[in-house]
Structure formats: structure tokens, C-alpha cells
Amino acid sequence: MIPTVPQSTALKWSYRAYVTLFFVYLALPLTVVCVFAFNDSVFPSLPWEGFTWAWFFGTEAPFIGVFHERSILRSIGVSAFVAVWVAGLAVAVGTCNAFLFVRHDFRGKGFLYILMLLPLIIPGVILGISILVFASSVANTLEDATGLWFDGLRPGLILVILGQFSFITTFATLVISARLQKFDPSLEEAALNLGATKWGAVRQITLPFLMPAIIGAGVVAVLMSFENFNTTLMLVGSESPLTITMFDKLKHGSTPVLNAVSLLLIIGSAALGLLSLIFQRTKGG
């Protein structure tokens, strides 16, 4: 049970074996995805036909690499565009929410807090369809009333951004609130005492203190936006982000170019995730 309690060696070793097996289970899918990115075959499966870089740099069909596959490059651009917007909005609103919930007491606060947590327990598909239905009915009403077109409310990037924003904001709020709770308000009072304005004190004292959490929340928002599928699927229009493009390719069977994209995604996400952890650990508390 714990190291200081004696235990039979057989039990100890079978426990260790289980843990090892578990980590093999964790690593296996990612490992095969990465390995087959270098297989010199048009299918991401065995047999192994030899090593190649073609799925990254290839230019001749069918060996077209990631860096020459237009549809993938374009969808990476779309994903990045969506992620930047979502992260920016979620962090901005999340910061406001953190100040509201940590610093203010008002009637209905508990209720609003529960409401704020709800997006965590609403399945992503439902979030997607509810926003789709609502936006469409608003568009219909407006178009009937004005005779103008409201394409922004039809499936497309704006709805994708709003859909992802609707639940990622909850994460941003939680991360930033947690850090704001640790802030000692007397620091701000000291700044006021030394002649700073209220906003000046927040800007010069509180926001720098919150920075690690704000950046951390931003990185997490980018990661979540990049990998979101369920909500995005319901709201996507003609321009599709990376996960949707990959899903379409996957359903119809694809060359190992998908493995190559995945490998890049794995490296990118792991690097971003580790960076945010390191940043929060060195700067944060």
C-alpha cells in the first residue's frame, strides 16, 4: 500500500508490471502514428517498406508531403486563425470573470458561478447544435425583417469561434481565478496608498501578478481550440479547420501524409504544453 508497509514481492512486482503495461498502452497509439509517418508506402499500415521523408517533403503524387499538400496547409491556417481568436476572447472574458467572482459579492453570485461551470458538463455536440439552431433562427428573423443577408450567423468560422469560445472561457476563468485568489489585496492597497489610481494599481500590480495564469490559460485555450472536434463539426462551413480536414481524409482512407501531420501536431502540442507548465512553475506559485 505504501512503501513503509511490508508487502509480498509477488504483489509488488505485479503492481509494477501493471503500471508499466499501462504506460505502454498510453504510448502505443502515438508511437505507431509517428513511426508510420516514415513508411515508404501509400498506406499507413504494415508491411514496412523502408524509411522515407516523402510524407513531409514529397512533391510527386501519390507521395505528396505535408508541406506541399494545399488542403492541409490551408486548414492549419484556418485552425490557427480560429485558435488565436478563441484564445484572445476566452482570456479577456475569463480575466473579467475572475475579477468579478473573486473580488465582488453580489446577489445571485452562487447561481451565476454554477451557470459559468455548466459548459463543462454540456456535451460538445449539444453546444454545437444549440448555437447552430439559435444563430440560424436569429439570422432567419433578421433576414425576414430587413431583407439583408446575415452570413456571419450561418455555419462558418464565426460560429466555430463562438462555439469553441463558449466552453473554453470556463477553463480560462477557472485558471485565472485560482491565481487571483492567491493575490494579496494589501499589495493593491499599498499602491493606492502610494498615490496610484484604482485602474493604475490593477494594471501595474495585479495584472503582472496574473500574467503566468493568463498566458497559461491562453496556451491551454489554443491547444483546446486546435484539437476541438465535436463542437466544431456542427458549426463548420466551407472553410474547415485541421481536425475536420483530417477527419474527412481519415474516413475515406489516406496516405501516411496524415501521420506526418499528426507527428507535427504531437510535437507542437507537447512543446506548447510543456512550455506553459514550465512557465507557470518558474513564474507562478
Binding site: 500500500m1 505504501i2 512503501p3 513503509t4 508497509v5 503492481y15 498510453l26 504510448a27 502505443l28 497509439p29 505507431v32 502514428v33 508510420f36 504494415l46 472574458v93 473579467c96 470573470n97 468579478l100 453580489f106 452562487g110 451565476l112 454554477i114 451557470l115 459559468m116 461551470l117 455548466l118 459548459p119 463543462l120 458538463i121 454540456i122 456535451p123 460538445g124 455536440v125 449539444i126 447544435i129 444549440s130 448555437i131 439552431v133 439559435f134 463562438l162 462555439g163 463558449s166 477557472l174 484604482k198 484539437e227 472536434f229 465535436n230 463539426l233 456542427m234 483530417m246 477527419f247 481519415l250 496524415l258 501521420n259 499528426s262 501536431l265 504531437i266 502540442s269 507537447a270 510543456l274
Partner: protein, 287 residues
């Protein structure tokens, strides 16, 4: 004057929250409900009624898929708890310092990667020409290629894989806060490994178990990718039906009713889980 300004500040902070919750959460769900209880009687002509829900209950394919989705999600949750608990316990109680951080990070990294990539990995492993089939042929366990993909087992493997982190993280957090001396005291007073697990460790870990189970259940119930890709075309998953109604059939009314039923089920399970374990949403989810 000061209080007027702080009032203004308060409303400025309240505005984005309300804007977000009202326009993106509350109104859309009200809208969804409204659409679900409207029946199409002609071109752009609707009547209020429960017809869409009646369709659901009268068509065995629909409610069976619903029940199957719920059942498999519950199985996934139980399986994830059983598989994840020993790992979380190992990380929290049997490792220290650097090893602990490393193991924890090794758990985290796969989940920063898109679910699509993870599922893709399982497809490469399990398909007929995949790694597992070839490996078993090589070792002589099976004679010819075997398709491991496109069955319920494959769906379960994928769902457990996708959600296990959300079980492990809250469990590690709560188990970490369990003082070793409580376990030692249990032994000192004559307890066995099993009785200590039942009377001390599990009661202590209950908040983590509940929040882990809620998240895992919800993620499985609302999952679309894993059942569709690993379960194949014949695999029925309720989110798949919703997608079909919305995107393929363009029957939003029925799709909305389906959506609402799924939401009702997931809320009911969350509520029940919280009630049974006497936890509140704020302290299980708002970590």
C-alpha cells in the same frame, strides 16, 4: 462618487459574463428546446407538440441506440475508474519527487494531442492490416489477418484511452492529499490492505472519484469521433444520430429533440452522481 465608480466597474465586469452566458449558453438551449417541440406541418409552417419525442420513443432504432450509448458510457466510466485508480494511487503514493513528476507528465502528454490523432493511432494498431494483427500472426497466435477494428471492444478501448486522463488527474490530486500516517495508523490498528482501501483510502478519494466519473461519463456520452472511426459504419452512437438528423437529413426538429434527450441524460447522471456522493458541482468541477 467612489461607490458610483465601483458600481460602474462592477457592471463592466458583469457585462461580458452575462453576454457570454445568455447569448451562447442560455438562449441557444432555450432555442434548442423550442425547436424540439415544434413539428413541421408544411413549408415554413410549424406547430407546437411533442411529436419529435414521440418519434424517438416509437422508433426502436432510436431509443435502442440511446440506451446502448448510455450503457456503453457507463461501462467505460466503470472500466476507466478500475484501470485508472491503481495508476493514480501508484503515482500519488508510491513515487516521490522527480519520478512522480515524470510519470504524471507521461500521463498528460497524450492528452495535449488531438483526439483525432489518438484515434488514428488505434486504427493503425487494430485494423486488419494493422500492427496487432501482424504481431499476432508473427507470433503464431492467429493463422491469418484478423480485423480488430469495427466492434464494441474497439470502441471501448478508444473511449477508455481518450478519457482516462480525466480520471487520473483528479484522483492523483485527492490521493496526494491523503496523509501517509492515516494508512500507517490503519495498519497499526490491525487493518488489512483491503479494509484500509475500503474504509480510509476510498472515502478520502471520493470527491476525486466523483468528479472523474462525471467527466468521463460526459465525454463518452458526447463523443462522436471514437465510436464513428473505431466502431465503423454500423456502429450506432447517439451523437451520430444527431449529426445525421442535422447535417444529412436536415431534420433539425428531430435532431434538437435528440440533443435535448442526450442533455437530459447527461444532466441526470451528473446530478445523481453529485447527490449520491454528497458533493456539489462547485467543489468537484471548479477545481
Amino acid at each position: 462618487m467612489g461607490s458610483d465608480r465601483s458600481k460602474l466597474g462592477f457592471y463592466l465586469l458583469l457585462a461580458p459574463l452575462l453576454l457570454w452566458l445568455v447569448t451562447l449558453i442560455i438562449l441557444p438551449h432555450i432555442g434548442l428546446f423550442a425547436v424540439s417541440i415544434s413539428e413541421k406541418v408544411g413549408v415554413r409552417e410549424y406547430e407546437t407538440g411533442l411529436g419529435n419525442y414521440a418519434v424517438f420513443f416509437n422508433e426502436p432504432l432510436y431509443w435502442r441506440t440511446f440506451a446502448r450509448t448510455a450503457f456503453m458510457s457507463i461501462s467505460t466510466t466503470v472500466l476507466t475508474l478500475l484501470l485508472g485508480f491503481p495508476i493514480a494511487y501508484y503515482i500519488a503514493k508510491l513515487t516521490r519527487g522527480r519520478t512522480k513528476t515524470t510519470l504524471f507528465l507521461m500521463c498528460l502528454i497524450p492528452f495535449w494531442v488531438s483526439e483525432l490523432v489518438r484515434t488514428f493511432g488505434w486504427m493503425i494498431l487494430l485494423r486488419e492490416t494493422g500492427v496487432l494483427s501482424n504481431f499476432l500472426q508473427y507470433t503464431g497466435v492467429i493463422g491469418g489477418p484478423v480485423e480488430f477494428l469495427y466492434n464494441d471492444g474497439a470502441i471501448m478501448v478508444g473511449l477508455v484511452y481518450t478519457s482516462i486522463l480525466f480520471m487520473i488527474v483528479p484522483l492523483v490530486t485527492t490521493l496526494d492529499s491523503l496523509d501517509d500516517s492515516l494508512i500507517e495508523a490503519g495498519y497499526d490498528l490491525g487493518g488489512s490492505g483491503f479494509s484500509i482501501l475500503r474504509e480510509i483510502v476510498i472515502p478520502h478519494a471520493m470527491p476525486g472519484i466523483v468528479s472523474g466519473c462525471i467527466v468521463v461519463f460526459m465525454l463518452s456520452l458526447g463523443n462522436y469521433l471514437t465510436p464513428i472511426l473505431l466502431g465503423g459504419k454500423d456502429s450506432l452512437w447517439f451523437t451520430g444520430l444527431i449529426y445525421t438528423q442535422f447535417i444529412t437529413r436536415f431534420n433539425w426538429e428531430l435532431g434538437s429533440a435528440f440533443g435535448f434527450l442526450l442533455l437530459a441524460l447527461s444532466s441526470a447522471v451528473v446530478f445523481l452522481g453529485l447527490k449520491l456522493s454528497r458533493q456539489s458541482l462547485s467543489n468537484t468541477m471548479g477545481r
